[in-house]
């Protein structure tokens, strides 16, 4: 049996622990995703999808449970270890693209590489240009985010997530704010990269049409996951 890229066991997440407004958002989540798998995470708003993605993306820690990324138990990692995993093993596409306004599209796409190596390299630049070409933005690589449309910005964010060829791609409603046509394009691109590189993908979406085109769907309702 091959090792899953993500293995979640009994994940719980509470906010405001120890206060009167303490609330458990996730009530014990189990989920395995294998390499090359493309999984849709669906469910009503407020059910805890983003919370789960943030935990898997190592942006915050779970209250309880076990998160393994590529066989590494993240509980054993300190901040430096988690930071490294975020940089090398995970590509995160946020709901609101979250580009850095002070940097050009090309620089934004190169940023994980700049962080990894301490400075930009020719290899990163070549890889970033290739990815921007793939998302149809080669003519816009020098533009700052505020000179790009929403769809273009989201495509830069995808190029950025893919730069270092991460084992795991997490996307939180990457097409949520886009028109259907652009949404389809972006989805197709992610699917393509997933097939090419064999990375595991977990993608939050409200669009049942897109969910259908994934390998499988899991549904979050009130902090519980149903497969």
């Amino acid at each position: 049996m091959t090792q899953p890229v993500i293995r979640l066991a009994g994940i719980r997440k509470s906010y405001n622990i120890g206060t009167e407004v303490e609330a458990e958002i996730l009530h014990g989540i189990d989920l395995d995703i294998a390499a090359g798998e493309f999984v849709a995470l669906i469910g009503p708003s407020g059910s805890g999808k983003s919370t789960l993605l943030n935990l898997v993306g190592l942006l915050e820690r779970a209250t309880a449970g076990r998160i393994e990324i590529d066989g590494i138990d993240t509980a054993t990692q300190d901040d430096v270890g988690l930071t490294r995993l975020r940089n090398r093993s995970i590509g995160f596409v946020f709901q609101f693209h979250h580009l850095l306004p002070a940097f050009s599209a090309l620089e934004n796409a190169m940023m994980p590489g700049i962080i990894a190596e301490g400075r930009a390299t020719d290899a990163h630049e070549a890889a970033a240009r290739e990815l921007l070409r793939r998302v149809g933005l080669e003519a816009h690589s020098h533009k700052k985010p505020n000179q790009l449309s929403g769809g273009q910005q989201q495509r830069v964010a995808i190029a950025r997530a893919l730069l270092l060829g991460p084992r795991l791609i997490l996307a939180d409603e990457p097409t949520g704010n886009l028109d259907t046509h652009t949404a389809d394009e972006i989805f197709a691109l992610m699917r393509e990269v997933n097939r090419e590189r064999g990375s595991a993908c977990l993608i939050v979406t409200h669009d049942p049409r897109l969910a259908e085109r994934c390998d499988r769907s899991v549904r979050m309702v009130d902090g519980l996951l149903y497969t």
Partner: protein, 407 residues
């Protein structure tokens, strides 16, 4: 090939450029602070050294004299006796065993020159004129290292020997004498000599120009009836502010009266110290204000850039990298600001030096800026900038990626 900046420097520069108005304002603040500091430091330094030069130009740093003669009571005081001590008039007395005292002084570290001097009152006479003067019997080679006589000489040479004498320009005028002329001196003891003027000096002090008559040590001793003796030993030291520290142990060792310029010019010294204290106070406040300015601008910047910080963290930038990003911003503002400030300070100095001049047209202050002041100010500004960035930088580093992004 393009220059690839390190991640931290790259992000720091972009962040500064993004918050252009804030960056320029704080850069202006640092520039002004550094310019003011450099300008004031140099100005006051120049002022103080010119005052010190004026005072110490004609004064030894340390003088060794015989101890004061004090009244001693012949009978022990009966209880309840009221006694009035009247200080005794001090007569001309020699320094006991001055040669060995001079040797001891010369062997003291940081003493660079030792010069015996016999000095006492006399009258200088020429024709109808009769002037009260101070006879100064010196060894010229030793004395010119105490008071830089060669610098003050307006005619002739500073080489009193035999019956050759060097006198001030005022006295020469009063006596109607000039180089090569003869004058007669008479001492209280009734001795007298005819001297030939072989040098004229202008020491920058009218009173001294009128009173000092330099003769050889030997002639001074015989005129003042102090055969083989001297009335004081003058010293010059390396660091003038160490003069008192050098004088005290000498006094203890010899039992003589050893006074430094610092005790004889106590008021001047206090004035200089007050000036230095004010300067330091101003510098400290300027530094504090600059530090607070940099810190507050960066604190605001951390809040404004919270989202970007979160994005960078999410992409795998470590806490230390973000700490560095903000420390570098502080250092950049400090160093660039100090470079600009140094230029501005230099410019101010040029203007000041060309506008404010002495009567003879020379600038009151040297427009040349010593490198150590500039380097010091720039170094401090850069270090202060980096330290001031510490609080905001730590805040940036402590942000959790998810909180930073959500906000």
């Amino acid at each position: 090939m393009r220059i690839r900046l390190p991640f931290e420097l790259l992000v720091a520069l972009r962040f500064l450029r993004e918050g252009r108005t804030q960056s320029l304002l704080i850069l202006g603040g640092v520039t002004a602070g550094v310019a003011v500091t450099i300008f004031l430091t140099h100005l006051i330094g120049e002022l103080q050294s010119s005052i010190i030069e004026r005072v110490l130009g004609s004064q030894p740093h340390v003088v060794i004299r015989p101890p004061d003669e004090i009244n001693r009571r012949a009978l022990p005081d009966a209880p309840g006796t009221l006694a009035i001590d009247q200080p005794r008039a001090q007569r001309l007395r020699p320094v006991d065993q001055w040669e060995s005292v001079a040797k001891l002084a010369a062997a003291t570290p940081d003493v660079v020159a030792v010069s015996p001097l016999v000095t006492g009152p006399a009258f200088a006479l020429r024709g109808e004129a009769s002037k009260s003067v101070a006879l100064m019997g010196v060894e010229p080679d030793a004395y010119r290292r105490i008071v830089l006589m060669d610098k003050y000489l307006t005619a002739g040479r500073f080489a009193p020997s035999g019956t050759n004498a060097v006198i001030g320009i005022e006295l020469a005028k009063d006596l109607g004498a000039s180089l090569g002329d003869r004058i007669r001196v008479q001492t209280a003891g009734g001795r007298e000599e005819v001297l030939t003027i072989t040098g004229l000096f202008d020491i920058g002090n009218r009173d001294l120009n009128r009173r000092w008559v330099f003769v050889s040590l030997r002639l001074g001793q015989s005129l003042l009836d102090l055969a083989g003796g001297v009335s004081q030993v003058d010293l010059r030291v390396t660091d003038i502010f160490e003069a008192e520290a050098i004088a005290r142990p000498l006094a203890d060792a010899t039992g003589l009266k050893v006074e430094s310029w610092m005790t004889t010019n106590a008021q001047l010294l206090a004035g200089l110290k007050n000036q230095s204290t004010s300067l330091n106070l101003i510098r400290s406040f300027v530094t504090l204000i600059v530090a607070l300015g940099i810190a507050s601008v960066l604190v605001v910047s951390v809040v404004q850039k919270q989202r970007e910080i979160g994005i960078l963290r999410a992409m795998g930038a470590g806490r230390r990298q973000l700490l560095a990003v903000f420390l570098i911003q502080g250092a950049l503002v400090g160093s660039v600001g100090s470079a600009l400030g140094a230029s501005l300070g230099w410019g101010l100095l040029q203007i000041f030096a060309s506008v404010f001049r002495n009567g003879d047209g020379t600038p009151i202050f040297s427009p040349e800026l010593p490198a150590d002041i500039v380097i010091g100010a720039c170094l401090i500004a850069t270090v202060v900038g980096t330290l001031a960035a510490m609080i905001p930088a730590r805040r940036a580093a402590s942000l959790d990626p998810v909180d930073a992004i959500r906000s």
